[in-house]
């Protein structure tokens, strides 16, 4: 069994390396949802890098496509791609671009335009129902993304079709590029919105990887899609980036890079001594 906390710290280090070397990336957005991806890929989802097109695999659609670096780091660590390829991130002609790219094994669909993922995941979950397949579909949305009207079209349809094989995870870090999400466009009362749309809603600390995993493993309520509101800290794991809207897509300079890696190493050391 993988040490999830350790894995999440290692993935965070990979993310910082990629962004620092490519001089581009969504630092805050990646670190916010790292624990969510690690929980899904190392503990929850039924996936096999040797058989990425397995018809019975669980599906993951990353609707907040801009958190691409953490996705590439996880896919590389899982063995969908060579770890060496991470060095090509954002380089001319690389497959590893700034958004999910389904030319890469393990990526189901191209995303990047916000507000598409939930509806795509609804289609995938609906197909599973029609074909009596037991795979589960997960999609990850940002909280700023919830201002897109198409999200709510998807929310309505998933409940209408009683897709209890679908889980939407909201990366509720409270920030977006301009500032606090509640200032940019109020989404509260968020849990009640999803409940009103016919979803089963669970709230959890999205950076507590074990608590999150436990919720993701829970049996869904019959006939209802599940919405997990994962309360997260944007930039989690690196003190200078935590809860700082300015780090949404800021690239660390040399000094900041050194400090970020040092902080993550310290956390790894502390974990080893637990």
């Amino acid at each position: 069994m993988v040490n999830l906390k350790k894995k999440a710290l290692e993935i965070r280090k990979d993310v910082i390396e990629m962004i620092f070397h490519a001089k581009t990336g969504h630092t805050g957005s990646d670190l916010s949802c790292t624990d969510i991806l690690v929980a899904l890929y190392y503990d929850v989802m039924n996936i096999d890098p040797r058989n990425p097109d397995d018809p019975d695999r669980d599906r993951y659609i990353q609707s907040k496509g801009h958190a691409a670096e953490v996705y590439w780091a996880v896919l590389a660590d899982k063995g969908f791609i060579e770890k060496e390829e991470l060095k090509t991130f954002s380089a001319f002609g690389s497959r590893l671009i700034g958004h999910p790219n389904n030319k890469v094994d393990g990526v189901e669909m191209n995303t990047g335009s916000l507000g598409h993922g939930l509806s795509i995941a609804t289609g995938i979950a609906l197909a599973a129902k029609m074909d009596n397949k037991s795979y589960h579909t997960f999609t990850l949305l940002g909280d700023g993304e919830l201002a897109e009207g198409s999200v709510w079209e998807g929310a309505m349809a998933a409940a209408h079709y009683q897709l209890d094989n679908l889980t939407a995870i909201i990366d509720r870090n409270g920030l977006q590029i301009t500032g606090a999400s509640e200032d940019v466009m109020k989404v509260e009362p968020l849990a009640n919105k999803w409940r009103a749309f016919g979803w089963e809603v669970i709230e959890v600390d999205g950076n507590d990887i074990h608590a999150l995993s436990e919720e993701l493993h829970k049996q869904p309520v019959d006939g209802k899609p599940t919405c997990i509101i994962a309360h997260t800290v944007k930039g989690k794991g690196i003190s200078m980036a935590e809860n700082a809207a300015g780090w949404h897509h800021r690239v660390p300079n040399q000094e900041e890079y050194d400090q970020a890696i040092a902080e993550l190493d310290m956390q790894l050391e502390a974990l080893a001594n637990e």
């Binding site: 018809p55 191209n110 990047g112 335009s113 598409h116 795509i120 995938i124 009207g149 079209e153 209408h160």
Partner: protein, 311 residues
């Protein structure tokens, strides 16, 4: 005159194909009536998915279904499908390469009296600029049937525009095949070429009959596929005839005429190209024939242009 609308032929053909292939599904946005798909819903209820009035959602859901092995046909009014859903078409269908067939119903000025909100006169322009998306407009019921037989087998994303009202036949009988991207020479001739698509093919054929009575030799190309475009047939027409007139139920900008002109202008000593379509304005409202006549998609106007250029 034939009283069977192309959309009705679509329904019959889809029922037939869906019976043979359980993966074929039809999605509607409260549009089963306007798409003539009520019979499909009754015949194949398990292959019918209603998403309500949500044109963005319908395309993304279809993309998800296609990604999971289904063969979805999205039937929604062309005016909404080609505008409100265009980002979903670009990203979820074309870019992700999902096998979704987008059927824009009541295209062009089919909803003649309903005004600009319901006219789709920009759909060729936007869809043909999207990579990995075929753009097809059948001319009559025979071609519609052949197109839907083709679509049921094809693995490529496509946008197909259908009109709402019955149109006169352009072909005499059932077509044995449909070759995407290959213009059909409806009539051969060497003085002037009329290149038309969809419901304007009938207009071109009628004009050709009139011009031939005047002693002119008229070529009529049915450009049922706007993308991939049959460049060879266009170059041939530009070389072998002195004038090309394009006809389309679309804005005069960035549609069939523009596509033809792009090809001809790259060719030395090409024929002149005259583009006929709907003027760059909120189109006048009325019946299709009235609107066509108003904007010069008529035998009268074509005769006049030919006279000015050739005689």
């Amino acid at each position: 005159m034939n009283k069977i609308a192309n959309r009705q032929v679509m329904c019959e053909t889809l029922i037939d194909e869906a019976k043979q292939n359980q993966d074929i599904v039809v999605l509607t946005s409260d549009s089963r009536g306007s798409a003539s798909l009520v019979a499909f819903a009754e015949s194949q209820p398990k292959q019918m998915i209603e998403v309500g009035i949500a044109e963005q959602n319908i395309v993304s859901i279809a993309a998800g279904l296609a990604h999971s092995g289904k063969r979805p046909f999205v039937a929604s009014p062309a005016c909404f499908l080609s505008m409100r859903s265009i980002e979903q078409i670009k990203v979820d269908v074309a870019y992700s390469n999902t096998n979704v067939k987008l059927i824009g119903i009541s295209g062009g000025v089919s909803y003649g009296a309903l005004g600009m909100s319901h006219h789709s006169l920009q759909d060729i322009a936007v869809t043909r600029a999207i990579p990995n998306l075929q753009v097809i407009i059948p001319a009559d019921r025979f071609e519609t049937k052949a197109v839907f037989r083709y679509l049921a087998q094809s693995d490529q994303p496509a946008y197909v525009r259908l009109g709402r009202n019955p149109v006169e036949d352009c072909y005499q009988a059932e077509l044995t095949d449909f070759e995407v991207g290959k213009a059909v020479t409806m009539r051969n001739g060497n003085d002037v070429t009329l290149i038309a698509t969809g419901e304007t093919v009938r207009v071109a054929l009628d004009a050709a009959t009139d011009l031939e009575a005047q002693g002119l030799s008229v070529r009529v190309l049915n450009m049922h596929t706007i993308k991939p475009l049959d460049q060879k047939a266009i170059v041939k027409a530009a070389t072998e005839t002195k004038l090309i007139i394009t006809l389309e139920e679309h804005s005069i900008y960035s549609g069939l005429g523009a596509a033809v002109a792009e090809v001809v202008s790259a060719n030395r000593d090409g024929a002149a190209v005259k583009i006929l379509g709907i003027a760059d304005e909120p189109a006048v409202t009325g019946k299709t024939k009235e609107i066509f006549d108003h904007y010069g998609l008529s035998t009268e106007n074509i005769k006049q242009i030919v006279t000015e250029h050739l005689l």
